[in-house]
Point group: C2
Chain length 404, copies 2
């Protein structure tokens, strides 16, 4: 008889964003005449940059001609793209990463989820709380999380609360963690990590032979030159960290799907190279990103492409400013939204997250994401995103100000 992976049965309810979408649908049906402003799911709204569109058209034409048609590509991505990533995102910033340490993929979510394939199920995992649900759910699926307790916490995970008193950055846990997920600029809080904080993490990981899984999907939103954009800016990180990056938020690729993961060749555990294990995983279970999408990603690094995506990032930054300042003016307590596209709003009067989520939708017609959906310490918070239209951000702020 076929046995299922019983760990899946431990997962409660539906995936957070699916539940948000479900409730929004119900609300929309109840108020058919009211515009629902969506500041919930972190999806971009601006179209692809003209340079990207143009690169796509050219690549599509190549695929339509026998002489230039491309079939299976390299599992790890085409050299033309890996070289550009390496040069622009790392070497020009004097960050020690080589092109052959870059694996191009269809999403940071896929890589963050699939990376567990090459890791033992007996590792102790530490996650921030609140946290991007994918880190937790994929570890539940793999059997590393144990069982859920009455507080909604998984028995075998180490939770690192990210609280207001600590600027929403995690403290190094007293217990030893084998794998630590870090995400800066943070989803959902919009918090950042300083060089000093990341150095402490790298030292911790090196001392314990732990592995840092560093998600920097939002690095393009960093404006402060003193904030690290990559974990590999920290000396020693090449021996203890993997970094995940994405074109999704940098260049509006959420519907186009392209990301990349850096696994330094110096990174070894149990005598094995994690770079080699990941290549084995990808070459066995994956066939790479469409050629046309890799050409689109390459266009992001062209002079005009770079300027165009920077304009869009500035547009989203301005939205973040409008939301942050508007909510502050309305007397609400907010953080994030400066070096990040996420604003982290404290619910007033200690109302719980899902209740305030429903209230915001009911009274202001604004869809957000309840902080509790990101973990127990997210309770009492709401996440808002800057990826919408500026006019929508303005209307949302006005409506919320009136309603509360």
């Amino acid at each position: 008889m076929t046995k299922i992976n019983e760990n899946y049965l431990k997962l409660k309810g539906s995936y957070l964003f699916a539940e948000v979408a479900r409730r929004a649908e119900v609300s929309a049906a109840q108020h058919p005449d009211r515009e629902l402003i969506r500041l919930g799911i972190g999806d971009v709204t601006k179209p692809l940059a003209p340079a990207v569109v143009s690169a796509l058209h050219s690549a599509v034409d190549e695929m339509g001609k026998a002489e230039t048609f491309r079939g299976y590509g390299p599992y790890e991505g085409y050299a033309f793209l890996r070289d550009l990533i390496c040069e622009h995102d790392y070497q020009s910033r004097h960050i020690p990463v080589e092109a052959d340490e870059i694996f191009v993929s269809d999403g940071a979510k896929s890589d963050c989820g699939n990376i567990g394939d090459i890791l033992g199920t007996d590792n102790v995992v530490a996650v921030c709380d609140p946290v991007y649900p994918v880190y937790v759910d994929t570890n539940v699926m793999a059997g590393r999380a144990g069982d859920m307790d009455e507080n909604g916490q998984w028995g075998q995970l180490i939770y690192m609360p990210c609280l207001k008193e600590n600027n929403f950055t995690p403290l190094i846990p007293p217990k030893c963690a084998d794998i630590i997920y870090l995400c800066f600029p943070n989803n959902p809080t919009g918090a950042i990590a300083t060089k000093k904080e990341l150095t402490a993490w790298v030292e911790y990981a090196k001392k314990n032979d732990s592995l840092i899984l560093y998600d920097s999907a939002y690095e393009a939103f960093i404006t402060d030159p003193d904030i690290p954009r990559s974990i590999f800016e920290i000396p020693g990180a090449r021996e203890c960290a993997i970094e995940f990056r994405s074109f999704s938020k940098t260049a509006g690729f959420t519907g186009l799907r392209c990301a990349y993961t850096i696994i330094p060749k110096d990174l070894k555990r149990g005598g094995a190279s994690l770079h080699d294990l990941w290549f084995r995983r990808q070459s066995t279970k994956y066939n790479g990103v469409p050629y046309i999408v890799q050409r689109a990603a390459a266009a992001v690094y062209s002079k005009e492409g770079g300027a165009q995506i920077q304009d869009t990032i500035s547009y989203y930054h301005n939205n973040a400013k409008i939301i942050r300042e508007g909510l502050q003016k309305a007397g609400l307590s907010v953080s994030g939204g400066i070096n990040a596209p996420y604003i982290w709003l404290e619910t007033p009067d200690g109302i719980n997250s899902w209740e305030f989520f429903d209230l915001l939708m009911e009274r202001a017609g604004v869809v957000t994401t309840p902080g509790a959906g990101f973990g127990p310490s997210g309770e009492g918070y709401i996440r808002l995103t800057a990826f919408g239209e500026t006019s929508a951000a303005q209307r949302a702020v006005e409506r919320i100000s009136k309603a509360f």
Copy 2:
């Protein structure tokens, strides 16, 4: 200390096609003036159909405009594509599959590999021998294969030899298997399964509550109307089978990446719906296929798109015929290549696979794939593919005829 997944260390050498590519590179360097004819890896060579190219251009334009831009799509694929797949590939053939049982993905390889996520590691797995290496390697990675013995067989797998005396189709194993991988038309042998044979498998699976993982990535190459194109043509299969399909070989999408997997809602194990578990897996670890690629796949079902891809399939069929008949004329023993793009060649005089692979490359400048790379019972065979140029297939046959 971070523990790796020790199962990865059990995998020997490099992935078959990587080794083939490596040897071909060495040969090309040794004979810089000789054209190397590649009949090895199963990659297509014909460009995308004009209807597909046109759909891609339109979709790219949509992505470049704010009004029509698409961000994250449904994890399981857009309804427009799932409806077309359902109508054309199933309902028009009276095969009982519903649109909401279809999961669109980036590749049958990804799905065949990732499906193991939702299945327990304690299942007994049966594979054909020879076999597409992905089925075996992904089970080694998951810990279902045990250790490799001195014959290159994994201790916990059930091997189903596909031998000449049985038309290269597997016999039902005496031992009970929880999961059975079947692939028809077969890669690598080009063998097909009759309705009677598949009925026996479905009955076996139903009796034992086993699960059939049915890979029909090559169904478009079936010309004989009596040969089933889908496992769901067999009564009862909805309660015991998952089917994998792909646009890779059907429409030349190896570089564009689109496939789909059918998990019937009737399929339950341990009280859980495998459809629901897979949705949970995909929504947590995956973000879907690029919108533009889904539009491209939809164009395959248009009247002109359908005619264009049929022309290409006929072209490859003709190559298969040239190779099959040419080799037969040269006195070699071949099978496959009629309802499949693969030709299975018996090595002459009992020469072993890798040796004959090297000989074919050395004496005829033809790159093939050694049968032994697909499993112990593939020893003594060579796989040739029909995906190249007709003129190349002709030259390859001439060169082989001269050389042997």
